[in-house]
């Protein structure tokens, strides 16, 4: 960057780093703070929130006392100690809690890198709540589910086109669950071949999501994690060295959580295939490559998408979510049952698949997410999806330009190369020079109505990390604001580190104390009854 360009960026950031009322980008914000008592503390004996339908007199006349049908040993003694509270007071309490939650609709979730927090259209919520979706029973006769099955089938066809794959399941209840499904499919592939004695190792990279390491371990495999070189991904020779006749396959994110696209990913796949192993790519970070690159074209045998990230389904306080898992024909026979099929103009739930791994989830899956993804893909079309990818990549690089002008911020790995959908930055310099680290800056962001940012999965290979992902949802003004908040925190760190380290100052609660309870069995209290027992010393 030339000195002149640097000065331009600095001047811009100075301008933006003022509060809105002074003509800048920052909000003069304070979070809603109710200091609500817990719902359990608000209980008043005798109050109630709702009347329940009681059995009709004629029914009780006929069957008699319901407790006669409950064996004596199974009758509950003493009512559960649930709150007793009237309806308005109950509603008000939970509405206050909602106000004390900075959801994406209100704030700016550029902060949530690796999560692709994009706008979830409100029309989709209306459709999900429609009784012909919300009031469906999963065991209903499939003739009465034809509309839903068509949506799921067609959505599956679109996702196959977007990934280039041949087969799909929409049963997994989240991205990690889809990744787990892959570990089970690969296991079944080699079980059928009688090679499980020999093949026991799954390969991943450190910048792949933790589930790419954890789920193959749950499936019973040893996990080999390959570390990056200065480019941000493992050198081909280092990757080759990890592959052997013991290899099951790989489970790798690309672009990885650094936002770096691994340009030799197809060479990895060749190495694996030459060793008789399989290749899966975790596509949690697919937003920047929609319509620009497909897993199939790099030779992968399987991949997944998160419908709650890339395809607009909202995150709902961490779920319910939907993982789409796709394979080539080679692995299609192992997909979990049931699989949605189409014969003529009828849709079916096919359970007669002897090679299937069985089930990863009950019933059909979280098809609310499929419904939303279907609607979203239909409103985007092929050019729209391409635009989503291009704008998310453009947004990311524009934000990167602003952030790299902020003192104390650096971007490790792959010098001279651009990132795609997100970037993993480091505040190591800021920490060294001011004593303010990434956790303090994260907490300071909240004071401006910006969601606290995602730092990094563990371990922190990048020191003092943070990972923004400004997907296509965000406007140029949103990006300016986000960078201005980081600039503000950085300036404050150099000026008054203690102030930043004491953040947040404008959140829904003051700073937490007694943090040793997070690790101490004598103090941790996962429930109110445990708190009363352990901390208050009450007999419960």
């Amino acid at each position: 960057m030339s000195d002149q360009t640097k000065d331009d960026v600095q001047a811009k950031l100075e301008r933006l780093g003022r509060l809105r009322r002074e003509g800048g980008a920052l909000h003069d914000y304070h979070a809603v703070r109710w200091n609500e008592p817990l719902i359990m503390e608000q209980s008043v004996p005798g109050e109630r929130g709702i009347f329940v339908s009681l059995a009709e007199q004629s029914v009780t006349d006929e069957v008699g006392d319901p407790y006669q049908y409950v064996p004596a040993s199974m009758r509950r003694e003493g009512a559960p100690d649930l709150p007793e509270i009237s309806q308005h007071q109950a509603l008000r309490h939970y509405l206050r809690l909602s106000q004390e939650t900075l959801g994406m609709d209100l704030g700016s979730d550029i902060s949530e890198g690796t999560c692709t927090m994009k706008y979830s259209p409100k029309l989709h919520e209306e459709l999900v709540r429609y009784h012909k979706h919300s009031e469906l029973h999963p065991w209903q006769d499939e003739d009465t589910l034809q509309g839903l099955l068509q949506i799921v089938y067609d959505c599956g066809e679109y996702l196959k086109a977007i990934s280039g794959m041949d087969a799909i399941t929409l049963q997994p209840g989240g991205g990690s669950h889809a990744v787990y499904t892959n570990a089970c499919v690969m296991r079944e592939y080699f079980r059928e071949r009688g090679e499980l004695d020999q093949r026991s190792e799954m390969i991943t990279t450190i910048f792949s999501h933790p589930c790419d390491a954890a789920t193959p371990s749950v499936a019973g495999f040893k996990v080999i994690t390959v570390m990056p070189d200065e480019n941000g991904y493992p050198d081909l020779e280092a990757f080759k060295a990890a592959v052997s006749e013991r290899t099951v396959g790989c489970m790798i994110t690309n672009p990885e959580d650094t936002g770096i696209y691994n340009p030799q990913i197809d060479k990895y796949v060749e190495v694996l295939h030459d060793a008789g192993a399989l290749a899966f790519t975790d596509q949690a970070n697919a937003n920047g490559i929609l319509g620009a690159a497909r897993a199939r074209d790099a030779g992968f045998d399987a991949c997944h998408f998160n419908l709650h990230k890339t395809f607009s389904s909202p995150h709902g306080c961490e779920g319910p979510a939907t993982g789409a898992y796709m394979t080539t024909d080679k692995l299609a026979r192992y997909l979990p049952v049931p699989v949605v099929t189409k014969v003529g103009d009828r849709y079916h739930l096919d359970v007669d698949r002897p090679a299937s791994i069985g089930r990863v989830r009950g019933f059909l899956g979280n098809w609310m997410g499929v419904l939303r993804a279907y609607a979203w893909i239909r409103t985007m079309g092929p050019d729209g999806l391409r635009e989503v990818a291009e704008i998310s990549v453009l947004n990311n690089n524009y934000l990167d330009r602003l952030l790299m002008g902020v003192r104390g911020v650096s971007r490790p790995y792959a010098k001279g190369h651009r990132r795609l959908d997100q970037v993993r930055y480091s505040l190591e310099t800021l920490k060294e020079e001011t004593g303010v680290g990434t956790e303090a800056v994260r907490d300071r962001m909240i004071d401006f109505g910006i969601q606290s940012y995602w730092m990094s999965h563990h371990p922190w290979v990048v020191p003092e990390p943070f990972t923004p992902e400004p997907c296509e949802t965000y406007s140029k003004a949103d990006l300016d604001e986000w960078a201005a908040v980081i600039k503000k925190a950085s300036d404050e760190a150099y000026d008054d580190a203690d102030f930043v380290n004491a953040s947040p100052h404008a959140s829904s609660c003051a700073r937490m104390v007694r943090l040793e309870a997070l690790e101490d069995p004598k103090q941790w209290a996962f429930t109110w009854r445990a708190y009363k027992r352990k901390v208050l010393g009450q007999k419960v």
Binding site: P80, A214, H458
Partner: protein
């Protein structure tokens, strides 16, 4: 008319002037210069083979709603199917809360920025703990079958043993999920699941068979209450005693909506409980409403330390009297320790825990007790009336909560035929058990809850009578 530049309402920076200004700042002419990071051989140069867009929201709504209109819902038909996903009434106040934009659109924001979400979670855990009579409740995840499998794996880690005994009456679907988690027998780290027989007259676990199968290699004994086939298992305390006698853990699978009237797993001595929270205020969504919980004793830290799901503890703040909630022992999870963590966590089912929190609050102890009494009364009423029909028998135990087995062997008709015929009466009949439990013949699992009125039940009985005539 009809042509317009593609500046999608969901993509503000698609405006050409904005795009150009941003490209200018980057000193490049086109986004293609960024995509140069992807080698040409890996680029997709075609146009995705998906339909052209439906741009107007009104048109999209018409299209999608038109597809959904091909479904028949349980609002239109009378539904008597349960079997793992149950139709209970969802109070309007629950929907009001879970449809709040703040909750629907929140993700993994921090404990300060999403303070309310963390408190709501803790209140869910706390209320469920009261129902279960257990001190430890973890953040729920996918569904009952998943948490059953995870509980078995947890028991293996705690005891160092690798055999788990499960009832033969366990839901085959849940068993299939658990089996996937427990790995095929070829794997060195597999957990071996072995089924314990049931009394053919009652559905209850055959304790002789349990005694025969128990041994010092058993990590846990798992039982369900109510059982998948509807019966109330009244031997919980004895199952716990036998398990503990052999150094095994006792794991209860529970439908928590029964616990306003039925004895909770903690009281029976269970070490771990798991189950399904969907009945607690979550719409069925064709099974998408499901979410599984794990709860445990907390008098020994090993249960928390081996729990695979996220745990949250109550804390105070610098402001006296103010509460906060934060994640406890996080390094135990896969987020903390990757492949060295306890199983894995990921996006789970957070919104449903908030629904269930509100549900338990508005129901309170009186509501859940009355609901239980209504379920028992109406389901027994339905069973009696169905049993009066020629050739129809009520199978298994006379002790059930909301589900019961209806046997049609004496009618000469299959459940599949009967259910098809009931569709013409706008009724979804009970779950066909003939392939899952062939020994029960042509049987169906019927579910009757507080959702069904006496008139609904009489309508069912009249329809079955007509179908069988």
């Amino acid at each position: 008319m009809g042509e317009r530049p593609f500046i999608h309402p969901y993509i503000p920076n698609a405006v050409p002037a904005t795009k150009e200004a941003m490209l200018r700042e980057l000193g490049i002419d086109s986004v293609e210069e960024i995509y140069a990071e992807i080698p040409d051989r890996l680029r997709f140069r075609g146009r995705l083979d998906i339909p052209e867009p439906i741009l107007a929201e009104r048109d999209l709504r018409r299209h999608v709603k038109g597809l959904l209109d091909r479904n028949t819902s349980c609002d239109e038909n009378l539904n008597f199917c349960g079997a793992g996903c149950w139709q209970h009434y969802v109070p309007a106040v629950v929907d009001e809360v879970v449809n709040r934009a703040e909750f629907i659109s929140a993700y993994c924001g921090g404990d300060y920025s999403d303070h309310g979400k963390y408190i709501a979670r803790f209140e869910f855990n706390s209320q469920l703990a009261e129902l279960l009579d257990l001190d430890g409740v973890a953040n729920p995840i996918y569904d009952w079958g998943d948490v059953a499998g995870r509980s078995f794996r947890m028991a293996k880690r705690i005891t160092g043993r690798s055999r788990v005994l499960v009832p033969q009456t366990m839901s085959p679907m849940r068993l299939a999920e658990a089996r996937t988690l427990c790995q095929p027998e070829e794997m060195a780290t597999a957990v071996r699941l072995e089924q314990v027989a049931y009394g053919p007259a009652t559905g209850r676990m055959d304790l002789d068979d349990l005694r025969a199968k128990l041994g010092d290699d058993v990590a846990a004994v798992y039982w369900e209450n109510p059982g998948y086939l509807g019966f109330i298992e009244d031997q919980g305390a004895e199952i716990v005693r036998l398990a503990h006698e052999h150094g095994a853990l006792a794991i209860a699978g529970v439908d928590p909506i029964t616990l306003g009237v039925l004895s909770p797993p903690g009281t029976l001595g269970a070490d771990i409980a798991c189950g399904e929270i969907q009945p607690l205020g979550v719409h069925m969504h064709a099974g998408g409403g499901c979410s599984g919980f794990i709860a445990f004793r907390d008098d020994d830290p090993v249960f928390a330390q081996e729990c695979p799901l996220e745990l949250y503890t109550l804390l105070e703040t610098e402001t006296p009297g103010e509460w906060a909630v934060a994640e406890a022992i996080p390094e135990r999870t896969s987020y903390g320790s990757r492949d060295q963590g306890k199983d894995w966590v990921g996006t789970a089912s957070g919104l449903w825990t908030i629904a269930a929190a509100v549900y338990m609050t508005v129901m309170g102890p009186a509501g859940l007790r009355e609901l239980g009494e209504t379920c028992i009364a109406r389901s027994h009423f339905a069973a009696r009336r169905l049993a009066e029909l020629p050739g129809v028998d009520i199978g298994l135990s006379p002790a059930f909560f909301k589900e019961f087995v209806v046997n049609f062997d004496g009618t000469g008709r299959t459940v599949a035929e009967i259910n098809k015929a009931l569709l013409r009466h706008a009724i979804f009949g009970g779950k066909d058990l003939s392939t899952e439990f062939p020994e029960l013949g042509q049987s169906a699992l019927y579910c009757v809850t507080e959702y069904h009125s006496e008139a609904n039940i009489l309508e069912l009985v009249a329809a079955v009578k007509e179908v069988l005539a």
